[in-house]
Amino acid sequence: MTIEHPVALAPADRAVRLLGSDLTEKALRLHLEGLSGVDAVGLEARAAGLSTRSIKASSKAWALDTIIRTCDLTTLEGADTPGKVRSLVAKAVTPDATDPSTPRVAAVCVYGDMVPYAVEALGALHGDPELGLVSIAAVATAFPSGRASLAIKLADTREAVAAGADEIDMVIDRGAFLSGRFGLVFDQIVAVKEACRRADGSFAQLKVILETGELATYDNVRRASWLAILAGADFIKTSTGKVSPAATLPVTLLMLEVIRDWHRLTGERVGMKPAGGIRASKDAVRYLVTVAETVGEEWLTPHLWRFGASSLVNDVLLQRQKLRTGHYSGPDYVTVD
């Protein structure tokens, strides 16, 4: 079967370069199933080894700031309101009102219909996180299940981009992936990437959520990561945060290894975003160590690395306050949301 929608394949440039212009489902399947299997025991042992590093005070201070700078402050609840989004934006801009030296977070991550409120609330501070501004990420494509027709997924995406979202977090169709229809998943990512095109021809950044908690095996995670990268993902992201287990260190390490391999193969840098379940600064620091040891420290910028989290920032702020004042702080000294 040849892949349909040849026009929409334009962003599938990577796949064409790697697999040739005859981009068939068979070629895709041969490539993905030809990837070597994952040594699960070795992977988990490596991840466990990386989480035993001792971090000294000055490195810890740097790590805490890096966690904030690369954090997507997230609210993805059915009960979200414009007011909740405004307070989230206020926190993104001024994470700790008692300490103006606290860096801003990279982005706020909201549902598509909340993007206009985030744009309005951010005002002049809306922009590139590399410049100290805050960008807006929107989840799209029938997040979190991904169970909707392609037309609805694309409309969802276009609407969020038109409203001013800089980054789109899409979910893959896990049902299709698990039943082996790689071509369908590939096509959808390509089509969503196309829908991320703005009027001026530039693209909103596309983060592809694999929902690793539903993929069952490490081999599947490796295949899905390759598939997403081939289809044009700017970032690959572990989870929606709605399924348990969400991000784990071994899965993140595995995805980073795919990113490293892609970089060695093509020189291109793909971003990584673990999301869900990272609540303590200590855990977050372990992720930073894993990034530095796997793909290198140059990945620790908001353009290539993000944490998707809602409660992590508060814990980081408590640790920062402890470093600054010398005494332990408490949850009464950070904002609730």
């Binding site: 005494h327 332990y328 702080s329 408490g330 949850p331 009464d332």
Partner: protein, 290 residues
Amino acid sequence: MSRLSVPKTYKLAIGGAFPRSESGRTYVVTAPSGEFIANASLASRKDARDAVVAARGAQPKWAGATAYNRGQVLYRIAELLEGRRAQFVDEIVQSEGVTATAAGAQVDATIDLWVWYAGWADKYAQLAGNGNPVSGPYFNLSVPDATGVVAAIAPQDSTGVSLLGLAAVVAPIVLSGNTVVVVANEAAPLSAISLAEVLATSDVPGGVVNVLTGSPAELAPWLASHADVNALDLAGAGSLADGAWVDLQISAAETLKRVLPPVEGAPAPSLERITAFVETKTVWHTKAML
């Protein structure tokens, strides 16, 4: 053939579990004669921090239990203490170097004190609270409410308090719904950890009573300045370096903690020790107009 003795390892009590110190440190507990008794964990500031987190996590549920229920739970502890009387007598004789009679008297006093405080759980509010007369068709009620997380330094005297002192500090704090992080008697910490084992097998939820063994001089400043601790019981802090407890009070003031000053020996049972760790909440409610 003589049997090899199996000495007990004394660990910390944090959040219903018995972990070793995060720092891996231990110290030797000796009898007054200098004879080795046991190794105990030497708690670090991070253990104190973890204990505060555990205490904070356990507090809402413990305070949410009915006063009657808390009283029953405390009374049950007294029952269990009675059952393990011989073990406590033995530990006190070993670590304080007192006679079995004196140790027995201390254990009895501890059990009696615990029963006394258990009885107060659903009665102190009648004395500490009030229905205020107001000129309007509504009730105006002042009721005592738990303060939150309390950090305490148990009495540090060398004889007569290793168990009684700890109980006299912990019982009045927890009965109103507070949770506690208590630093045990440094020289004689064994019965404190055994008491924690009694609590773990009673109906007290994990995290309500957290016991640290180690140096009060090292741990107290971290607890006094900790922003998530609501009150400080310095019962045993009089033994610290000259006037050190005043510095603790000063750093506690930074976060507006209630502070109870040091006492001599084990604090006597009193209603004041209960009301020292409650806040008075005044609420109004309309009267039915029927």
